[in-house]
Amino acid sequence: MKDIITIFSLCIITMTGLAQSNISGRVTDSRGEPVIGANIFIVDSYDGTSSDVQGFFSFSTSEQGSLALRITYIGYETYEMPIELPSEAVVLDITLTEKVNRLDAVVISAGLFTAGEESSREVLKSLDIVTTAGATADISGALNTLPGTQIVGETGRLFVRGGEGNETKTFIDGIEVLNPYSSSAPNTPGRGRFSPFMFRGTSFSTGGYSAEYGQALSSALVLNSKDVPDETRTDISLMTVGADVSHTREMKEGAFAGKLQYTNLTPYFKAVDQNLDWDRAPQSIEGNFMLRKALNDMHELKMYSNFSWSDFVVYQPRIIYTSAKDKMDLTNNYQYINTSLRSIINDQWSVFSGISYTKSNERTHVNDEKYQEREEGIHLKTVIADDVSDELSLQFGGEHFIRDYSYENIVQPDEELGIDLGLTALFAEMDLYTSNRFVTRAGIRGEYNWMQDMFYVVPRLSIAYKTGENSQMSVAYGQFNQTGRNDLVRIKNSLEDERADHYIINYQREENGRTFRVEAYYKNYDNLIKFSQSYNPDSYTNNGDGYARGIDVFWRDNKTLKGVDYWLSYSYLDTERDYHNFPYQAAPTFASEHNFSAVFKYFINALKTQLGGTYSYASGRPFNNPNLELFNSEKTADYHDLSLNASYLLKSNVIIHGSVTNVFGFDNIFGFESSNEPNENGEFILRPVKQAAPRFIFLGVFITLSKDKSVNQLPTL
């Protein structure tokens, strides 16, 4: 009996008397703020607890021995300490250090707008590009509603912060694209060649961009092609301007997508009056192909290709003798192919290599004169990324450009003008996160231009600081250089690169579906190309200069009004430059002082319809009146445009989309062309540059065929 008692009491002792130890304390972060909900536990046991709203915790354990106490919390480094148990009441004061988490950390935002799906922080979504009224599904059209851009309606290009259209460079997956806009009649807007639906994300930088991107004086537009395999589907579009068919096929470890499009504006121009006298309305055939394939776990191959053929014939009245008309017949052939390989070596190292080839051939007949403009370009690039630690990452690489350009008048083939450019560049950049609140990006880029025999070294620097949970400030500085425009450098190959310095300060606040952003900048232009006689190489110099300064404001809100998403952009620009044939520093003709856009989108669930509207305003643009003493001293009237669009979901896979630009038919004047010579009264005649038509009306039916019947083209409209 005694034995039984002993056994029982032993049992009781082992069960209850496993010496309970009490562990308590407080968990705080480096700023002394309590950490709420931290997990505090004895490793390899169930014993532990969570910290309360004041960061306090307390628990008992019956564990014994030399153990470890671990404290974990999302976004903080795991804390571990040895603990001897059982023990007297343990009271601990624990400070957790914040882990640098790239997803939560501050991001470089000076000068940058990104659109994509991955991050909830994007200012714009990919979808926004295609649903913006007035943009007619053109990437630059949609980006033109962002601050920092100027409305230059007769070109369709992106003019950024006092920069010319060619100062914005387009890159696909980091690789350069030459001639990214389709050819168009003089003073009518060209469209971007690349369909927004082929891209997953867009990053549009209005200044201060990374050392990875060179040969762009004002802006870098980086398009990232899709890499998530879509499901197999076929899309058919029937439009008032033509038709297209596209097919996406999922294949083993990848996908293939192709799109063929034919457009012909003849029927539309017959139905709707045009201001221009078209002999043959623009028509084009365009193909887009895309392939992505994971070769194995480490390597992914991507190919993107675009080809197009376009053609039109238009009559243009002369300025003085308006009864005489010049006949212009233009045909353009374009091919672009881009191949890249991305290899993830391990958690730390990755390598990206790509090559692109562009070929553009444009034949123009003006009356009996024949001109041919050809450009071929190759771009090779390799980027190596080294994520040294959570705090530090390095990126470096090299690239080589070959560009062969020629311009000839077929009547006088001896007078061929051309550019034969070779350019080798190296760049290195470092991202250093001092904490989740502070990041510095410093980079340097060196370029050797074989044609000019010139070496350029340009530094870039961006710093961003998180001022609060939802707000941050960034500053950026950078030097930029770019070889001048083809039509100038072809006259004199030895012209040096044009240069610009950017200084940017930015404040951004994002909260609950609302974004506010304000950015001020100063740009200094130097080495701009100047000439006094356009055909005389000896008159060409790099003696031009200029400046641009301004403020950009952006506000976006998709919370306040239910179902309504809207954004407002305002840009103030003050710029002058002395370049080309300017007699002295003056505001260039593309620079309007005030630009404003309001974009709104409203989804009416009951009607299965999305409505969109865009109002754009630009203050008057300078133009030169040769009859006056002062250069570029006059201004056009203000520009106004209200565009509307609507998409109606007829069936789950059929969408009807309609859009109208310039609903009120404002007779906008972009500028004035003047006659080369004075008329009989000794006066130069000015002719306004107007819109090609008061408005553009578009109607289309978009049909999607796939296994899952609910898939449609809504995300791409």
């Binding site: 997990n39 169930y46 909830s120 979901l649 789950s652 609910s710 809504l714 995300p715």
Partner: protein, 212 residues
Amino acid sequence: MRTIVLIATMLFAAHLSQAAPSKYEEVMKENIEKLYESRTIEEYQTVINKFDRIAAKETDKWGPLYYAGFGYIMMATNADEVSMKDKYLDLALERINAGKAIAPKESEIIALEGFVHMIRVTVDPATRGAQYSGLSMQAFSKALEINPDNPRALYLMGQMEFGTAKFFGADTSEACTKIQAAVSKFDVYTPDSPLAPAWGKGGAIAASEMCK
């Protein structure tokens, strides 16, 4: 005397052999109950922490990871900010992937993965629908392939189809058939262990009400 010692030893041995699993089961049961009762982010975090502690010890069991993942999904649905929702869903996916590594053929875990993608869609259907609705439907189909009787996978699939149809203004009858079938499956569903997932019936019934 010897018999008593023997009995006592046997009892002790029985106790020992029982101790490990029963403690796991006991703690899990208690915590699963707490999880179902949780309403606030703080409550969920406390329960998830406990599951994380269990998971850290029981490295061969998918259960604690499953429930930690489920807890984070619930936190995501409770959070206001989109960035917080995404963060919780990332944490849920982390737990789910760890669970999948232990039990790659577990229908319940795969269904839960589909649930994560589904919640991502609800955050911003217009932008994310194209990418995540496909992923979630794939996961639900796979879960049903492994276990056609998994009522949760069927219910979530029906719910997803219902939401998609509603978004595009299409016919919801196909989705409703699935939800109805899920309700009947919940009625006859017998969990194979006391720790098996038991949630979803209320939601399925509520969804079937919307179909009427």
